[in-house]
């Protein structure tokens, strides 16, 4: 599934242009030092909204980032994500609820 197709499901808030990358998997983590170990194309689900997270997500070429529990990135974080071509999505519920939702939507 592509990020644009996921956004069309109407479940997410978008903080920037979500892009059209292919989602090859999902990874849930709140630690930058953990994220650098994942492969490219993952949808990254996290609570963290700081710039270092975008730097790590860019390094491992994530498909997009979903912030759970209604977390909102600041303007400078969005600007860095825009430059990196990383779509930033928001989800009001908790991470576990999102995990179930993604599975229901066909993201594996």
């Amino acid at each position: 599934m592509k990020v644009s197709e996921l956004v069309k499901q109407g479940v997410f808030k978008t903080f920037n242009e979500p892009g059209d990358k292919e989602i090859k998997g999902v990874y849930i983590s709140d630690m930058v030092s953990d994220i650098i170990g994942i492969g490219p194309g993952n949808l990254l689900v996290t609570l963290q909204t700081h710039k270092n997270l975008i730097a790590a997500a860019n390094l491992v070429d994530v498909a997009a980032i979903v912030f759970t529990r209604g977390k909102t990135p600041t303007d400078d974080v969005v600007a860095l994500a825009n430059k990196a071509g990383i779509g930033l999505l928001g989800f009001e519920g908790d991470t576990w609820t999102l995990a179930k939702k993604l599975y229901e939507l066909g993201v594996r």
Binding site: A55, N58, L59, D61, G85
Partner: protein
Amino acid sequence: MKQKFMSAKKSESNCRHRWVMTNVRNGYLVVEGCFHCRQRTSFFSEEPVPPQDDYREGDHFWSYLGSSQASKFDLKCEECSEEVPLKNVMALMLCMRCDPECGVYKAGSAEKGSKTWVYVALCADTSHAKRRCVTKPGIKALNEYFNRGIQDRQKKIIVVSCDSRKSVDTCEGLVLADVGLTEIY
């Protein structure tokens, strides 16, 4: 016998490496500074709580400056089993292009296009007083590893060693480590 060894080496070097992370260790990146000479050093600690003791080492008086959760890894080729140890890589840092005079900035400027991102492999000897930094095979393997499978063909990751950085004091890079999560200790 010598000939056989050489041909084996040649076939190794011809391998189109498919690097994977191996020996992944979780711990702390601890930064220390010497108040005497103002040099900085860092090390990776796998202890449950990062050490914060001041100590003397020769002419240096090392004091704890801070720590962050980090992970270390080596790279191993799935094809030829070659392993590149990255013992001296303490963390990676995204260059924010703050100083056109900096060698890291120039490394990014040499590439055309805005989709080039430069990351710095930070070694333990932050001030490079011992004139040692991350090895060239390590930098080469990191470049190959982080450029695999990128969806956008125009995007490029460049990893450079930290000895190309102009100044550790004025650098505005984003270090890929989890600062502040365990400062309660």
